[in-house]
């Protein structure tokens, strides 16, 4: 352990990767645009400059994110010199920025806006952008909106795409004042192999990359007297949305969410955790069948739409490995439309509008997949992210923090601990393992906590866990980020893969850190706290095994016969298609 001085006070440091982290750990905030603890430091924005005096008297001004901490140096974070530099950086960035703040999607959550205010930028001495300078906005996909006029070229999105997903669809192009961030040759995101995970948007400090909003459609549906609005909420929304209302990350606010949704005016509220249980009974059945009857292994989970799109665009020759199960969102929507009218009067297949609340931008894309249509209409009508729901709650004037918790509706509201943990990397595999154990042995697993599968931090993006199902050895590989998934695929291709089940979540740490969640890129701990919130609920729920969910048991008894039945396949399973876009198809 060594010490250094920050603003005249001595601080200890150990293995912090850079000076910026030491400064932040000391409780001093230094502004940054391009820095995220999950990404390699880049040093492009120059906002984190500090003055450093070395023991030999030499003084340098440098970006703290790219400097290693050194013993006994004297760091000053707020000298006149560094403040002047930061102000100039801000002025230059703002000169090249479309400053229509009030109508920007990021207004109120924008770092550029925040620092401009904090540093008292009142006047910009450079020329404003003219209408001729404005570049085209890309919102030609269901998930994301890219506005190059708001881009400050910090490169966080480029690094997120490269370092998390391994195949940067965004990149820098051109040079000097003509530099832009864009997909290949200025194409649309929908034209390149973007998987719509939204991590680029999650790390973007400005309004250059934002979530394509569906709030207005949701309000329209709520206000339409002829429509019955039915909501489903995904597992990880409940442990994150509170952050937008001043609650702690990881605090389970599901009761408050139910109550707020009712106040907004949605007619019935169900929980995607219920259909996560349903996914598990189907997926575990499929896995056990493949395992015992010699089907194609390893089997890949199919809950993550970004992962599914990655497979379809990058490895169409391996689609047979993907479980045919729809995702929990994809399962609940047709179940609601087909079966709900039996249980609730006034509801018909035609008048139900399903709105799902997801931590995910790719779910918006999933809902528009041609395979997820029924009678010519999309099974899921509207998808909103956690961020959008928070905005809707604020717009409705609801005091979320103090609202009295309520219950979900019947018959698709009950869930088990296994459904809840779907939101964290490793959760799907753990839930599936608990139920698969029962299907193989007829007994419940003794220790329901399969802790080796857990962990959402940077060091646990790839885990291999061996399970002993009464003599049958099964190896489960759990990965988050597509970069890690690609490594697992390469193992299969070169014959070194030793696993039978592969769980993939495209976002680092899983859905708790999804592209639709409140901003969590500046503090790596936030996603761990959210995951802990899910595991806490799992521990506290009376039922922790998907196959014991009473609503699921009833659903099979009355409507779907048994897991894997013909009826279940018709409603709950899907297919995939070759979406290879490379221009060298004949050579692949």
């Amino acid at each position: 352990m060594s010490t250094l001085f920050i603003n005249g006070k001595e601080y200890e440091y150990t293995n912090e990767p850079n000076l910026l982290e030491v400064i932040r750990n000391a409780g001093i905030d230094v502004p940054t645009f391009c820095y995220s603890p999950e990404l390699k430091p880049f040093g492009s924005c120059r906002m984190c400059v500090v003055e450093v005096e070395y023991p030999n008297g030499r003084v340098v001004v440098n970006s703290s994110c790219t400097m290693p901490p050194e013993p006994n140096v004297k760091v000053s974070t707020n000298t006149a010199r560094v403040r002047r530099i930061r102000k100039t950086v801000l002025e230059l960035l703002l000169a090249n920025h479309d400053r229509e703040c009030t109508t920007c999607d990021k207004s109120g959550q924008c770092d550029l806006q925040k620092y401009a205010e904090e540093y008292g930028i009142k006047e910009i001495k450079y020329a404003k952008l003219t209408p001729e300078d404005m570049k085209a906005i890309d919102d030609w996909n269901p998930s994301l909106k890219r506005d190059p006029n708001k881009c400050i070229l910090c490169g966080a999105c480029v690094r997120a795409c490269q370092e998390f997903q391994g195949h940067a669809v965004l990149g820098f192009a051109n040079r000097g004042s003509k530099t832009v961030v864009q997909p290949l040759n200025g194409k649309l995101l929908a034209e390149v192999d973007c998987v719509f995970c939204g991590q680029c948007q999650a790390v973007c400090p400005t309004g250059a990359l934002t979530i394509k909003s569906n709030i207005e459609e949701a309000w329209e549906a709520v206000n339409d007297k002829n429509k019955k609005t039915v909501v489903q909420i995904a597992p990880s929304v409940r442990v994150a949305i509170g952050e937008m209302f001043g609650l702690k990350p990881g605090e389970n606010t599901i009761g408050k969410i139910y109550a707020a949704l009712r106040k907004i005016g949605f007619d019935l509220i169900f929980d995607t955790n219920f259909s996560a249980d349903l996914t598990i009974t189907e997926e575990a059945t499929e896995f056990v069948e493949r395992l015992t009857k010699g089907g194609l292994l390893p089997m890949f989970t199919s809950c993550c739409p970004a992962w599914v799109r990655y497979m379809e665009t990058q490895h169409p020759d391996m689609l047979g490995h993907l479980s045919t199960c729809k995702s929990p969102q994809g399962m609940l929507s047709p179940v609601i439309k087909e079966l709900l009218p039996k249980y609730h009067e006034g509801y018909t297949k035609e008048n139900i509008t399903v709105i799902s609340i997801m931590p995910c931008t790719a779910k918006k894309y999933e809902a528009r997949r041609s395979q997820l249509k029924r009678d010519g209409k999309f099974e899921t009508d509207i998808v909103m992210t956690t961020k959008e729901l928070a905005r809707m709650i604020k717009e409705a004037g609801i005091d979320f923090k103090n609202i009295e918790p309520e219950q979900a509706d019947s018959p698709f509201g009950e869930y088990t601990g296994a459904g809840t943990i779907f939101g964290a990397s490793g959760g799907v595999a753990e839930a599936a393992a608990r139920t698969a154990y029962y299907y193989v042995t007829g007994e419940n697993i003794a220790d329901k906590d399969i802790k080796q599968m857990r962990g959402v931090d940077k060091s646990t993006r790839s885990k291999s866990v061996e399970l002993d199902i009464k003599g049958t050895k099964v190896v489960v590989r759990v990965v988050s980020t597509l970069k890690e998934a690609e490594k697992a695929i390469q193992e299969i291709k070169n014959g070194t893969a030793n696993f039978q089940l592969l769980e993939v979540m495209a976002c680092p740490g899983g859905c708790v850190n999804g592209g639709g969640q409140p901003t969590s890129c500046k503090d790596a701990k936030i996603k761990e706290e959210r995951a802990e919130g899910l595991y806490e609920e799992d521990r506290e729920l009376p039922i922790r095994l998907s196959h014991e969910n009473p609503d699921i048991i009833r659903l099979y008894k009355e409507d779907l016969e048994k897991p894997g039945s013909h009826k279940a396949h018709e409603l709950l399973h899907t297919s995939y298609s070759d979406m290879f876009t490379g221009s060298y198809k004949d050579l692949k």
Partner: protein, 166 residues
Amino acid sequence: MTATSQTAIDFSKIDEVLGKYEYKKSNLIAILQKIQEIYRYLPIDAMTYVGTKIEGLSPATVYGVATFYAQFSLDPKGKYEIKLCDGTACHVRGSMPVLDAVKAKLGLTNGKTTTENGMFSLETVSCLGACGLAPVVVINEKVYPKMTADAVKVALDEIIKQEQEA
């Protein structure tokens, strides 16, 4: 910058180049130079292919490198490549009126660098090392010294006449 007209790509040729450079990320610039030698420019499909085949790269990254360096062209070059020097010496001795004359003569407006018929392409370069002959224009390998707006038109007319007779 966006590339427009594209030729069909024979990927086996690109595989040859990639093989020669061991599919290495660190050889990207050399690979792009070789591909440009084959096609006289960098076709988008070729860059997509390179970006997909080399580990650690993506098409967008390759495109970024190609657009960063002035030596790479995303538009097909003409049969006659005009390099107009705009180094300090050429600039002060009047290279800009020469450039304007070439653009006007060949109809290269709005940032276009290659003529519709694919005959001429135009680029400015920083210094050709022939400052004593400023302003200098090089067309393919031939050096045209001490150019003026009128002289460059005559030179171009000669080439056009030659082509029409051929």
